[in-house]
Amino acid sequence: MKALMCVLLFFTTLLTVSGQTGKAPLQGRILSAGTQHPVEGARIDDINGLHITVTDNKGYFNIAAREYPVSLKISSMGHRDTVVVFDPTQQPFTVYLQEIINQLQEVNIQTGYQTLKPNEVTGAVEVVSKETLNQQTGTNILQRLNNVTAGIRFDNQPIVSPDRQKLNVSVRGLSTINGNLDPLVVLDGFIYEGDINNIDPNSIESVTILKDAAASSIWGARAGNGVIVITSKKGAFSVDSPTSVSFNSTMIWRNKPDLHQIYQLDNADFIKTEEMLYHNGYYDWIVKGLDYMAVTPAIDIFDRRCLGLITASDSAAAIQNLLLQDGRAAYADNFYTTPFSNQYSLNLTGGAQRNTYGLSVGYTGARNENSVRDRKINLQLTNSYRPTDKLQIDLNVLYTRADNESGTPAYESLSFNGKRVPYLQFTDQIGGEIPFFMDYRQLVLEDRYASGFQGWAYYPLSDYRNAKINAVRNELYATVAVRYKLLRMLDLNTSVQYQQQTVDQINLYQQDSHYARRYINQFTEVDPNTGAVKYNVPVGGIKDQDNARVSSYTARSQLNLNETRGDHRIVGIVGAEIRQILTEGNSFTAYGYNDDPLRTAPVDHVKTFRINPTNQARTITGHPLYSRRINRFVSLYGNGSYIFKNRYALSGSIRRDGGNIFGAATNDKWSPLWSIGGSWDAANEEFLKWEFMDRLKFRTTFGYSGNVDLRKTPDPVASITTGTYTLFPALTIGTINDPELRWEKISTLNFGLDFSVFNGRISGSFDHYIKDGRDLYGLTAFDYTAWGRQSTVTKNVGRMEGRGWDITLNVKNIDRVFKWDTRYILNLNRNKTVEYYNTVNSGVSSFLSNGNTITPIVGMPLNALAGFRWLGLNEEGDPMGMLDGAPSTNYIGINTQSLYEGEDSGSIVFYGSAKPQIFGSMINSFGWKDFSFTFNVSFRGNYYFRKPVTSYTSLFSNGTVYPDFEERWQAPGDENSTDVPGMQYPLKSNRDSFYGQAEINIHRADHLRLEYITASWHKGLMLGGKQINSRLYGNVANLGLLWTANKKGIDPEFAYRLTPPTTFSLGIQIDY
């Protein structure tokens, strides 16, 4: 339709212009380069800035210059300023203005399979522009979506099950219970299997998020968690577009972590506790039993004194010395550096009528607080050729190399037999390094394992220089696409993508490293009579090598239909693709390794040795291991939209996947995933022609997408073993999968509304969705007469439901020289388990953990919290719960009763979701002349968190303690003023866990957070007749909490953990 109009207008222009003669005013026309729409009101000045004219509503302008050719400067809102040379011999004269894209509705929507215009889409789709992505400065492209897009939530809690989750991002909440949790990431039209950190954010043009089934079902069986489509920068075909160059440099500093956020006891309290434990026999199992196990320095002093190895005054002096130490400060001084990264990128794009090209080079260097170094180089080449009007060939090659080198030991790693102490000391009075004995005890080692052994000491200040972990990632991502115009409205598009990512990790422990010395020592045998030494692990370095490779290809053939007849318009695709993902890995360890001269030594991986000093039976690890996995898919798909009068649209899609992870029973069944949708653009209706309404579009869709677990197999899984007694090689079928196992199926019903009023003064969108995850993987009881090894098997049995709203509202509060825009993003998401089989427990007592693990209990949210009823402390400082309606300290009884009777027991109280059910952000942007300023405040609410509290068991065993310790019950009467149980030894069983899981520690987690502030200065300059746009920008991120619902001011997402450090960035961007 539009194209037709353009053609018509083009001819009209021609006729008009050819009618002109002599010195009469000559006409030109200004069109938008992307949309080809006429640009109205574009200002035309001469090169000295003298105003000449503006374009009319069809984009025409007339000039009558004294002489030709003449240079004109053209400027228009939403477009780049352009200088052209007006030459009357070139007729017709048309200028294409490059748009500055920041309004969503002007952006094309990339589904990965096709590029659609907004009015061709019925589904819930969000396009995040380059400008929005640039509001944040991180080196991870996905992180830049955080808090600026509706429906996406980044979780601050650590990933619980890394085998089914890598990204820690969810689109519209959960869709699965036991399946894969990550959204599908698509780069330039193909599934991206690599490490997301390999993508250079500076080379990305836009990101499109496909949220509902109508949008995502085209991606079929892997789209159930939503799809994130990333599109890289490319040149554009145009009449004449000179090479545009874009240079970007960003420097990022972060604050050093503040270790004082991790609560620790002061030295005196800590040592007093240790002394109490020692004298009460807590350490007897070590000092009088497994005496080779390490103990903390204080315990070592007490024990040496007890054994008479040191005098009372030595002991007192040693303890006095420990009391003076400040371990956290000493650690920070000795190990922390200011984290710093820098990013550089250079993009060249350009195009002519027959070809376009793009080249980008990026470099990212980073060093974290522990001096862990990352270096990354990105190279990207995009080329398109149009040898004829009918044929277009696109070539896209992306290469990434990233190097990572380990740094100094992490604070958490410095512990003695698993116990952290506050009085760490790294150097003595004269500056000498103090050795650590963290796993075995010096006293015993020096007595029994000295002669013939390597030193056992660990020197944290220097050891990391001898133990380096280096990882190198190499990635190649290449696509070739050939598009041929078969008919006027029909294209054939055949494309091939190949991706290969290798990760080569080398852990090299030099001979002097503690790791190598300890490993050699463990396997050293010294003859007690002769003193002869046998090194079963040869003296030398140890080198672990681990290589992993993921390579995938996709071949796709697709027909694109694009036809307009009168009021009718059809856009559609139909295609087929095959895809293979091959994952290979191998690893081995070399012993006796030395770099120069290069050598290794053989070891016996078969024999079992008794290792020193524990006497455990061990073999020498590290024999070569290989793995190989292949996943293959064959897919057929189609998608079509019918648009009538540019107002009414109907869309439908269908896709069928087959894969080698499904059994024949599933592959043979024709059960495609499909979607339908409709939309109505009411603003264009004659009968609704409200003056203020620019846009009013209603959308509704319904459809299915899938979610697969690539680890599943239809075959029974046999593992190699040997027959008992016979030792014949044998096979055990230890796992079977339901041969009818199929992908999880998620249906989404979506209602959407897009609107814009008063010339875009207020615009936004509302989406309401209902997700129904069916056929979810779940363990289910089955008639084990079929296979008696287990009583449950994974079948498609679970069901969950998610409901929510995604709301975006953009308001131009002030739109003059001073501009103030506010963007509101609000998400509501609730989910619950609808059907699930639980073997053991199906009550709320499953929610006594931290709420971070998905726990399917029918009728309940997937992540939730419950707590024990709390009746205060008794006069002995013991916490009291409710058992059979009366206060009780029978914690096991309370636990059992709440397990069996749930909330009916009165012992346990259910609170609610442990994940935000309302979240969003408010982004305020201010602009004045060339300056702009943006800040983002995020909100998360309607959920709960469990405040970590002191567990004396943990304090005794690993030194972990929380600030409530200071308020602990200490003497009768304290129970009236505190809820923190008193310290006890020995502890009543389950007392700690009862207190930790009690309701008093569950708090509302609602909070407001200042995410980032960005300021930038934008300046357009003319240099040698060329427009140069430069942008200077600064960003401060992770500014911390503004408000939190809990009274103690605890950050609910990082309770007593290190919060993400405040990050400062400074950058410059130059485009010309």
Partner: protein, 447 residues
């Protein structure tokens, strides 16, 4: 057009393209070698003979303290009231073996039998059939009534699974159909397995004879039982002589060496029933008293505990695991019993004396002399119980003997109560796990 060509060429090759294994480390058992390896996993194939019958039978008792230490369902099993119990259990273990056998049989169907591979092919197929039959026989003895030709068509039998397909529903066959299936498997195996195998863990022709003899004996078809026990003894009639320290030594903890001369096919009962675990099981005092002092089994089979009662140590597993395979001593007793029942008392007595000669002290042993057929049979049945203790046979023996005129009843004495299981009680068909009944909808054994 192009699209059509593409699709047409794509679709047929699709299946091949998708047939690649998703993880190279997974073993897809589809060649003869890996099928043999499934059968060679003795822990899965040979060690799942049901012990639940021994738990319910009368060769042992539990002291009150031992009883108290058991879980509820284990207590209920001891007094035949185990109506509700769930995974894990003998039913599950037995059907795991059946699944493995069926997997082998299913996969063999996709392998072509050629002159080159026929010997291996047949041995594997025969072995799979044998393992399935062995397990079915153990199941039908445990979970069904004794074979009664009058009611066998109606009596509830076991689940006969004909493929490894996990989604096939389970249903209970009749006792008659169960025995028919067992005999069919065994007779098919008879023609397929080799006369001798690399190990007694793998079934040989003799093993098939032994199982056929057992099957027919439990069906009271004595002529056939005689035929097959005789066929086995024609191949191997060796017995251990308890007077000699060859393959047995009463001085050590477990006197019998594993894979001794009598063992024709090696199998073990399941081990997860603590009632008959070494620390709880105490030999019925009447049974122990029935061994004469000259009977070397009295020492070889039993150990005196500090509490004054005996526990069992006579397994051919050379460990505290109960032997449940085929051995020549059982065959002597089957041949003798059948001969006696067929009116060949002299022949029967001869077999019995051969056996007893190997069991009693040589210096005092006097061969038994009886001329009354019925008395010979009684002697044989007494010796059968004493010889084949904890072999997984007693529960079936009680049932079948009660079916043919005996009236063996079992009594359990506990502090607060005594329990008796009378001949003909429905509970001789032990209950199937409750979760299986609920999930499959199959009928439970009547109480």
């Amino acid at each position: 057009m192009l699209m059509c060509v593409l699709l047409c060429t794509l679709l047929p090759s699709c299946e091949k393209y998708l047939n690649v294994k998703s993880d190279a480390r997974l073993v897809r058992p589809d060649d003869l070698e890996s099928l043999q390896q499934i059968l060679d996993a003795s822990q899965n194939m040979n060690f799942n003979i049901c012990a639940y019958g021994e738990v319910a039978a009368d060769d042992y008792f539990l002291k009150q303290a031992s009883f108290n230490s058991l879980a509820d369902e284990q207590k209920r099993a001891y007094v035949w009231e185990n109506y509700v119990y769930n995974f894990n259990n003998d039913w599950a273990r037995a059907y795991y073996t059946v699944f493995n056998a069926n997997t082998v049989l299913d996969r063999l169907g996709q392998i072509e039998r050629t002159p080159a591979n026929s010997a291996t092919f047949d041995a594997i197929k025969g072995a799979a059939l044998y393992f399935r039959a062995l397990q079915y026989l153990s199941l039908v003895w445990t979970y069904a009534r004794a074979y009664n030709s009058g009611t066998a068509e109606e009596d509830l039998g076991i689940v006969l699974r004909t493929s490894a397909n996990f989604n096939d529903p389970s249903s209970r066959s009749s006792v008659a159909a169960s025995y028919t299936a067992i005999l069919a498997d065994l007779k098919a195996a008879e023609d397929l397995v080799p006369a001798s195998t690399a190990h007694v863990m793998r079934p040989s022709k003799s093993a098939v004879y032994g199982s056929l003899a057992r099957t027919y004996l439990s069906m009271a078809r004595y002529d056939s039982a005689y035929y097959y026990s005789n066929a086995l003894l024609q191949v191997n009639d060796q017995l251990l002589d308890f007077n000699e320290n060859d393959d047995m030594n009463s001085a050590v903890t477990y006197p019998f060496s594993r894979f001794n001369r009598e063992t024709v096919f090696y199998a073990e009962l399941t081990t997860a029933n603590p009632q008959i675990g070494e620390s709880n099981l105490r030999i019925d005092t009447n049974l122990y008293g029935s061994y004469s002092d000259d009977d070397l089994r009295k020492v070889a089979y039993f150990r005196l505990n500090t509490d004054g009662y005996r526990s069992y140590r006579g397994s051919y597993s050379s460990a505290n695991r109960m032997f449940g395979g085929i051995a020549t001593n059982e065959m002597y007793l089957i041949r003798a019993e059948c001969a006696a029942r067929m009116g060949k008392a002299a022949e029967a007595l001869k077999d019995l004396n051969i056996l007893l000669k190997h069991r009693f002290r040589h210096d005092t042993f006097q061969p038994l002399v009886v001329d009354n057929d019925q008395e010979v049979l009684t002697l044989i049945l007494q010796e059968r119980r004493k010889e084949l203790i904890f072999r997984g046979l007693r529960w079936m023996d009680i049932k079948r003997l009660n079916e043919t005129g005996s009236s063996i009843r079992i009594e359990r004495k506990l502090e607060d109560r005594e329990y008796t299981l009378m001949p003909g009680d429905n509970r001789f068909a032990l209950p199937i796990p409750d979760d299986v009944i609920k999930l499959s909808g199959m009928p439970q054994n009547p109480i």
